[in-house]
Amino acid sequence: MSSQDIPEENLPAEQEHAHVAVSVADEENPFADPGLPPHEHRIQDIDERAAKRSERVVALLFTVSMLATVGFIVSYVTIPHDKSIFVFPIGHISALNFALGLTLGTALFCIGAGAVHWARTLMSDVEVADERHPIAASPEVRAKVHADFKQGAKESAIGRRGLIRTTMFGALALVPLSGVMLLRDLGPLPGTSLRHTLWAKGKLLVNMNTNQPLRPEDVAVGSLTFAKPEGLEETDEEFQNEIAKAALMIIRLQPDNIKDKRELQWSHEGIVAFSKICTHVGCPISLYEQQTHHVLCPCHQSTFDLSDGARVIFGPAGHALPQLRIGVNDEGYLQALGDFEEPVGPAFWERG
């Protein structure tokens, strides 16, 4: 619609002046606040047909919202919950989730779009100024409040009766202690439990995947095997707590590749067993680089050299991975020769 179609009587007189003011109005102070600029009319303010059009757009949006809600209910009832569809470019997704989400999204969005369009095109857009008042109270109010407070404090005699004051503060300070005490049974004290794992002399190393005890010949050079102590089953009540400390990483090196003397002593035919729990903050380490014998923690990238006492060669870990001393029992199975000699996992104050 062009402006010629707008009825003459609807054209406001101010429109003429709206765009002129480039000349400075205030001769004294060109930077002075000229006051609110005159209101500029929107097409809807002056042309009833444009306003009608806006009304229809808003109503259409609200109608689309109603239809979308119907669509939501229909989808909920008709689409099976396990049906998947292919949607380009997302791929195969749950049909129900897709349909419910889009219909709900449309239903909500159209209400919002309708309301905003209504506000922007049909409600008054005349800017109005509201006065501000200082946040702080007037001096009279301030004086009155201070006087009232002093009066109240005086009447309570809290300033004069020191014994009451002192004992009251004492009682109020002590009473929360009961609440603190009640927190005591949130958990047991740590004691030495962070220092011990299930490993002990004679415990067999059980392959985590096959659940079978390991023999030296099961461990090939260059492979990485995860092991748990014999007797620990997934169904055990305390499985998660125990595996969080006992998880073991077993690799086989050529004995002459082992640089650390103690590591060599604690190994068996080049087979070495290290704690799988990172000494940084306790993630299970699981990225093994065959050629360099480095393991990398995927969480924070601490890197340990398994051929050199598992010392830290990069990243935020503070100390080497604890090694488990292993040997072979009479039947030829790999066994532990004791518990870890130092606590596994992240360091803590009492670790020492």
Partner: protein, 545 residues
């Protein structure tokens, strides 16, 4: 003539139903005096004022969807064997928390949608708060009288982080369990109390059987309860203080210019709730988030690569990743600086932005109220500090995603880590200097624009062959807008002798304040805005040409 009670009742009876209900409520709640000051309250219009609304609405969406999720979620770590409809995990041992989350995702119709809306809304809530905070910071909206509201907002941001963390830890999946383990490791690093706090939090050794139930009550009751209170307080203060506005014609420290709550903002803000909700629902329809079935139930001896927290924890994750692994052993104790320093830095970096308003008001010594917003360029030192802070935050985010950056861009993980180690220190310094230069440059540009007018892009050839660009003088509206900001004078050390001629000791704090004040407002740290005299001299000069 006075009316009898009967007549009065009849005349009331004729009033429309809505009015009668309102009268009834007013007689009991006094709603009219509340409505008198608020119904036609004026709100100024600017796109950036919508950011806070995004936060408020996403918080409401989180509460709505969260209540729905509690109807189906079992906050228990009892081990069960899975027999639901997700085939790959059938027969697996998992906690009830994990299996009920699978149930919500696969067997409750619309359950996955609500879960995804809940999670997406949480990410948007945190992102919204971050950006909203930056808006408030860079425009100086935190100044008197709004410092307390700034703290309310800051607390909402921090509590939002922890609510998010406790929330995504609830399904007890492999990814979130790894995050909980990280938290345990971080708690263990605290000197003296670390292992005790860890044992009290987890009910014994990690992971124990309690943390899901405990995180659940923290996630659905404790933290959101506090946050709801803070949010209501935040809004009450926004109403009470009235909204800030940018400088412009007709706008002053004494007024607020805009449109009334009823009807314009009722419709715009109310409609905006539906827009936000609609967009989040559409995102949840097409964009999968946190597919816990792909990660599997948590086992402390298993992990997957690319383990990342939700984005708002990425900054803390980064601090932990690029810190060198320092450990000090002495007298049978271990000080785990490699984890404890990041833990402290996490708090300190956040505290720095929280306390900034108080530092700035101490430096300026300004006790007056501020309702006109600063343009960031007009407060170069504040803006530079803010950008430096954002830089530290972003370096943390980059560090938190160092593995993904390394694999996606084919870089060495070690190089990425070294880059963030250096940039943690160098980044904010470079950002500070660069931002300040840019701000001062923009101030100079405004200065020129006021004095010489706008560049029109029209090139004129003079009779003698010279080419000049035509400058068009600004309107008074524009002149006012560009010169309305207040410029502080740098503070000076007061007289070192008092009125009796006795020498006075200048306190260190006063020296520091003067130094800071000069760094903020001294020569070369802000461009003096043009004076009326300068303007008149130049414009009259133009006339004589």
């Amino acid at each position: 003539m006075s009316t009898t009670p009967n007549e009065e009742a009849r005349s009331r009876g004729k009033a429309p139903a809505g009015e009668r209900v309102a009268d009834w409520a007013d007689g009991r709640l006094g709603i009219y005096s509340l409505a008198k000051s608020n119904m036609r309250k004026i709100f100024p219009d600017h796109w950036s004022f919508m950011l806070g609304e995004v936060c408020m609405y996403s918080f409401l969406i989180i509460i709505l969807t969260g209540v729905y999720l509690t109807l189906f979620f079992h906050p228990s770590m009892n081990e069960v064997e899975y027999h639901g409809s997700y085939v790959p995990l059938q027969g697996q041992l998992m906690s009830e928390a994990f299996s009920s989350t699978l149930h919500i995702s696969f067997d409750v119709r619309g359950g996955l949608l609500i879960r995804q809306i809940h999670h997406w809304a949480a990410l948007i809530f945190l992102a919204g708060m971050f950006v909203h905070m930056m808006r408030v910071f860079f425009t100086g909206a935190f100044r008197k009288p709004r410092e307390i509201n700034w703290l309310f907002g800051f607390l909402l941001f921090v509590l939002g982080m922890f609510t998010g963390f406790t929330g995504y830890s609830l399904p007890d999946d492999l990814l979130s369990g790894t995050g909980v383990r990280f938290t345990e490791g971080a708690i263990l690093s605290m000197p003296i109390v670390g292992s005790y706090i860890s044992f009290f939090l987890f009910g014994g050794e990690f992971p124990g059987h309690d943390f899901v139930a405990r995180f659940y009550s923290i996630h659905i009751l404790l933290l959101p309860g506090i946050m709801l209170g803070l949010m209501v307080g935040h809004l009450i203060l926004v109403f009470y203080h009235k909204h800030t506005q940018f400088a412009g014609p007709g706008k002053s420290e004494k007024n607020v210019v805009g449109m009334p709550l009823l009807p314009v903002y009722m419709a715009k803000a109310g409609g905006f709730f539906f827009l936000v909700f609609g967009v989040i629902a559409a995102i949840a329809a097409v964009t999968q988030i946190n597919p816990i079935w792909a990660m599997g139930p948590y086992r402390p001896d298993q992990v997957s690569t690319g383990a990342q927290p939700d984005w708002y924890m990425g900054f803390a994750e980064g601090l932990v990743r690029y810190m060198p692994g320092w450990e000090i052993n002495f007298w049978g104790h271990t000080l785990v600086l490699g984890v404890f320093i990041p833990l402290m830095l996490f708090g300190l970096v956040l505290a720095a932005i929280a306390l900034y308003p108080f530092i700035e008001s101490w430096v300026t010594g300004d006790k007056s109220e501020h309702h006109i917003l600063d343009r960031p360029r007009n407060a170069p030192t504040r803006t530079a500090f803010g950008v430096a802070w954002v830089t530290v935050y972003m370096v943390g985010l980059v560090g938190g995603g160092n593995d993904l950056i390394a694999t996606h861009f084919n870089l060495s993980i070690n190089d990425v880590t070294w880059f963030v180690r250096i940039f943690f220190f160098a980044g904010p310094v470079i950002a500070f200097i660069a931002t300040k230069r840019i701000c001062l440059g923009l101030q100079r540009r405004d200065h020129d624009k006021v004095l010489h007018g706008r560049e029109t892009g029209i090139i004129k050839r003079l009779p003698h062959g010279e080419f000049i660009e035509v400058h068009e003088p600004l309107s008074q509206e524009q002149l006012h807008t560009l010169t309305a900001h207040h410029q502080y004078e740098p503070a000076e050390i007061g007289p070192t002798v008092d009125e009796n001629g006795v020498e006075r000791k200048v306190k260190t704090s006063e020296k520091l304040r003067v130094k800071l004040s000069n760094a903020y407002y001294g020569e070369d740290n802000q461009i003096p805005k043009p004076s009326v005299e300068e303007y008149k001299e130049i414009t009259s000069g133009h006339g004589h040409h």
